[in-house]
Symmetry: C2
Subunit: 151 residues, 2 copies
């Protein structure tokens, strides 16, 4: 059985999951603390999706950390398939949320009554963090998909 | 060699490609004819991406139609890999464009000065068509990815 760097149970996967958790937490915090995000559908959607991504990535980070410590990677096809599909769905949803948020921010910046620059820069940072989280999530998903046929 | 329904050179793939071409052309037409789309970044992005998807899908529809007629499917790993990667990238870009467009339309519908209902309904139809096109493009990409390891 090959060892694919970045697949479940390796230290690279642990780093990817930790990055996803950090970026999605940052996106959630920048969007929700002190900003009236609930006035816009796209921002509510981003907050919802980040609330799904954070527990998913954090749980898998714990699993990876444990696998690295006991040197016994998880290699059951059923569980791997669930992880691949979950990653896939969440990465699509994260991309959708990031794109929606950034297009709304762009519209707000160029509208007739521009939003206060403090708010808009926070929205922008939040969208950027969501894009980073999407990128890491896509990488995890691809690495695990690569491993799947060899199980 | 397995015959995966929906992979390059089958009649199912021809139907998928034809659907992509139709939906993306409809999305482009609803967005660009008689509507001032160039005032919004997200709408310009949608038009650009649809302008990429239409020739790509149309070319592959021609290839599939030819393969079905001469009963000699295309099965070269290099070309298949290019098709899978191209489908993948275009489906991500289409999803991004569809999400951006729909979130901007939602914002326009709920803003203080709502857009004329004729324009907004056209934007909505265009975004819906882009989502359909994304879905078919994802299906093509998954079917071809499934075939790739067996080549």
């Amino acid at each position: 059985m090959d060892e694919v760097p970045g697949s479940v149970g390796t230290s690279a996967s642990f780093a990817l999951r930790l990055g996803q958790t950090l970026f999605s937490s940052a996106s959630l915090l920048f969007m929700s603390v002190g900003v009236d995000f609930y006035g816009y559908t796209a921002f509510c959607y981003l907050v919802t999706i980040m609330g799904l991504v954070i527990p998913w990535s954090f749980t898998l980070a714990l699993v990876d950390g444990y696998s690295v410590l006991v040197k016994c990677p998880l290699r059951q096809p059923g569980i791997m398939a669930i992880i691949v599909v979950g990653d896939w769905v969440l990465s699509i949803l994260t991309l959708a949320a990031a794109c929606s948020t950034s297009s709304v921010v762009d519209l707000l910046l160029h509208s007739n009554e521009p939003c206060p620059s403090k708010f808009c820069s926070r929205y922008q940072i939040s969208a950027t963090m969501a894009f980073f989280s999407w990128f890491l999530s896509l990488a995890s998903s691809l690495f695990n998909l690569w491993l799947l046929p060899s199980l």
